[in-house]
């Protein structure tokens, strides 16, 4: 008799807890959309496609679905890898690309006299940062350009160059104090 009571009690308990767990899993489940969004928020939004996906959001989706590794974002650098590892609870990995960490941010510049107005760069730009029309001169809106370099290969006359991003003009850029110099 006692055995049956024990089995019954434990059985009911297990069923109840199972129900609670099931409901909880349903109500507080992290949707894969949300993970994707969180990952997307950590990516630099250059839309350069160097990761092999056609933009930051598709790459975020691939990471969320476990298809892509977290070390493919070249513009994000080690900081992005660390942030992604932190978010997803994974190990930090070395960067998959050969990137120069000292490389400064760039913007594309159209050498206007050379431009023939083919519109190919306009179609390649992922953020609509190039204005122009067929057989008319094109130009880059520097404030919108992410420096993704996707406009370079399609240009038939090689009239697009990369220029360093102008630093903020009010110069708040103090360098990290190294071991030897101290403040005056």
């Amino acid at each position: 008799m006692e055995g049956i009571t024990a089995i019954l009690a434990l059985g009911i308990l297990a069923a109840l807890l199972g129900l609670v767990l099931g409901l909880a899993a349903r109500s507080i489940r992290v949707e894969s959309d949300k993970v994707e969004e969180q990952i997307d928020a950590l990516l630099p939004q250059t839309q350069c496609a160097q990761c092999g996906y056609p933009g930051c959001r598709p790459y975020a989706k691939a990471i969320a679905e476990g298809e892509a590794d977290i070390n493919l974002c070249a513009p994000g650098g080690d900081a992005a890898i660390r942030a992604l590892a932190d978010l997803l609870g994974r190990e930090v990995k070395p960067m998959a690309h050969d990137v120069d960490p000292e490389e400064s941010a760039v913007v594309a510049v159209v050498d206007e006299p050379r431009c023939i107005g083919c519109t190919l760069c306009i179609q390649a730009c992922p953020v609509d940062a190039i204005v122009g029309a067929p057989r008319q001169m094109h130009t880059v809106i520097a404030a919108e350009c992410t420096g993704c370099k996707l406009c370079l290969p399609p240009c038939p006359v090689d009239c697009i160059d990369l220029a360093p991003l102008p630093p903020a003009d009010n110069g708040s850029a103090w360098a990290r104090p190294d071991a030897r110099t101290a403040t005056a």
């Binding site: 933009g55 959001r57 179609q123 003009d169 103090w174 101290a182």
Partner: protein, 519 residues
């Protein structure tokens, strides 16, 4: 008695240091105007807020006080020509900014005549003018806070509610600097006049003038000016001289015993704090129609021949300031804009004077802290004892050393006023303030990058949405056409005719794509 009057309860701010003033070097001598320079160099980003937009062309003749660059954005300010002459374009020069970065400066070649522009005339009856008119005039005249923050004064006034208490900051607390001291001794009437204009612009009737006790001559001169003005809205407070008593938040705490909330502004607790030099500049702008094209600057240091206070035009190369102050007798001396505590090191003597330059200091190398050996932080807590912002410098240092910017921000990095007290007391000689300046810059950069990324993400998504929509529209159009065709073909004789045409078309050419180009 006015109900909004704030009771003065002599308080004391947290921390601070008693420092050797070194002010005797430059103070006491009359303010000397500098002779005209051949060329002036105007840095268009010399104030807080967006850089001014140049509005003159190369070769154009300009007059003194003429606008050469327009105000950009709400908190920007216009920039005026310091003398009459010819615009010579831009030149890259070391800027008086963080780590001596270069910036392009607008060059104006003086014609030696120094003719004034008559666009703005003095408002003789300013005491009947509407507050808005006064604020507009202050904005047009390029007035910014001359204590060092270079925040647009008009924007500051516009953000204050009516009935605030005006605090005139004459508590010049950093060693070596005495430009405000000199100004109060010699131009007390201008300062009081400027303050009266400010009271009208602010809709306020209460003004506290705060001066440190170690400036008896300035206090005496201001008292005389106050007696002459006979204005009951003013009170003069003598405050203890303790560095950094002249810091806005520290001064407010000293005068009222109240603290400005972190991340907030003095306006939030009904106060507006204006430097005495700014008040004098406002007086000149409103009463004489003279925009801000010059300021009083202390040129001092133990290696200079004849230190003193000078009335210098904005844009003068500091080389000429040194020459006016008797030259420098130490070829290895270091130049600093500002005082020894908060100053910014200058790369060389080509740097031009900017509105923020209250002092040009030349120190021998031996007086600088660079050579001292750094040792590890021992967590002694001395820095927290002296921090006037009530922060934990050692903790912020530990976070920043390992580039943990976000935790450093949580420990109040943004509230650091960069006074340098912690550097002075640190037994391990750590360059704490340098770390904080660097950390603030990095945090700012991260914010800008995040904003840029968010913007790019929106544009990327908008583009994808547009391309998707165009594709869907085209498909819908094609489907409609196909459907119409099918319908026609099922219609007896016409159907046979259509089939025949299609067959002919297929055999004649490979067919042209009707895909249009977009972009």
């Amino acid at each position: 008695m006015n109900p909004t009057r704030i009771a003065v309860t002599p308080g004391r701010f947290h921390g601070g240091l008693k420092l050797d003033g070194h002010r005797k070097l430059a103070s006491g001598k009359p303010i000397t105007p500098l002779p005209l320079s051949e060329r002036y160099f105007l840095w268009l980003a010399q104030h807080y807020g967006d850089a001014a937009l140049p509005c003159v062309s190369v070769g154009e003749r300009v007059l003194r006080g003429q606008v050469v660059a327009l105000q950009e954005g709400q908190r920007g300010t216009p920039i005026h020509a310091p003398t009459s002459g010819i615009v010579r374009g831009f030149q890259d020069l070391p800027a008086p900014a963080a780590d001596s970065s270069s910036a392009s400066m607008l060059v104006i070649e003086s014609d030696g005549e120094d003719r004034a522009c008559t666009d703005l005339s003095g408002l003789a009856e300013w005491d009947c003018a509407a507050p808005e008119t006064l604020v507009e005039r202050i904005a047009q005249s390029g007035i910014v806070g001359l204590g060092g923050a270079v925040f647009a004064t008009a924007a500051k006034i516009a953000r204050a509610e009516a009935g605030v208490t005006l605090i005139l900051n004459g508590a010049e607390c950093e060693p070596y600097i005495s430009c405000d001291d000199g100004l109060m001794r010699e131009r007390a009437n201008s300062i009081i006049g400027g303050a009266q204009i400010l009271l009208r612009a602010l809709g306020s009737s209460d003004c506290i003038i705060a001066i440190e006790r170690d400036k008896p001559e300035a206090i005496a001169a201001m008292e005389v000016a106050l007696r002459d003005a006979g204005d009951e809205r003013f009170r003069l407070e003598r405050i203890f001289s303790l560095y950094p008593a002249g810091g806005e938040r520290q001064l407010i705490e000293t005068l009222t015993g109240r603290q400005v909330p972190r991340g907030g502004l003095p306006q939030d607790i009904g106060l507006v704090c204006i430097n005495v030099g700014t008040a004098a500049a406002i007086r000149h702008a409103v009463c004489e129609g003279r925009p801000l094209t010059s300021r009083v600057t202390t040129v001092t240091g133990p290696v200079l021949g004849a230190p003193g206070n000078f009335d210098v035009r904005i844009g003068t190369p500091v080389r000429e300031l040194i020459a006016a102050a008797g030259g420098c007798n130490d070829p290895k001396a270091r130049l600093i804009m500002g005082g020894p505590m908060m100053g910014i090191p200058l790369r060389d003597d080509r740097v031009p004077v900017i509105k923020a330059m209250n002092c040009l200091l030349a120190l021998p190398e031996s007086a600088l802290a660079d050579g001292r050996d750094q040792r590890p932080c021992i967590r002694c807590g001395e820095c927290a004892e002296v921090c006037p912002a009530r922060l934990l410098p050692q903790q912020m240092y530990w976070e920043l050393r390992d580039e943990r910017f976000e935790p450093a921000r949580k420990f109040g990095l943004d509230a650091c006023i960069e006074c340098g007290c912690c550097d002075v007391v640190c037994p391990s000689h750590l360059p704490l303030t340098r770390y904080f300046r660097w950390g603030k810059g990095q945090l700012h950069r991260q914010t800008v990058e995040r904003e840029r990324a968010e913007h790019a993400r929106q544009r990327f998504e908008a583009r994808n949405a547009r391309i998707g929509q165009q594709k869907a529209q085209r498909e819908a159009r094609l489907a409609a056409k196909r459907e119409a065709l099918e319908k026609a073909r099922s219609d007896g004789n016409r159907g046979a005719a259509i089939d025949e045409i299609i067959a002919r078309k297929k055999s004649s050419t490979a067919g042209n794509d009707d895909s249009g180009q977009t972009g």
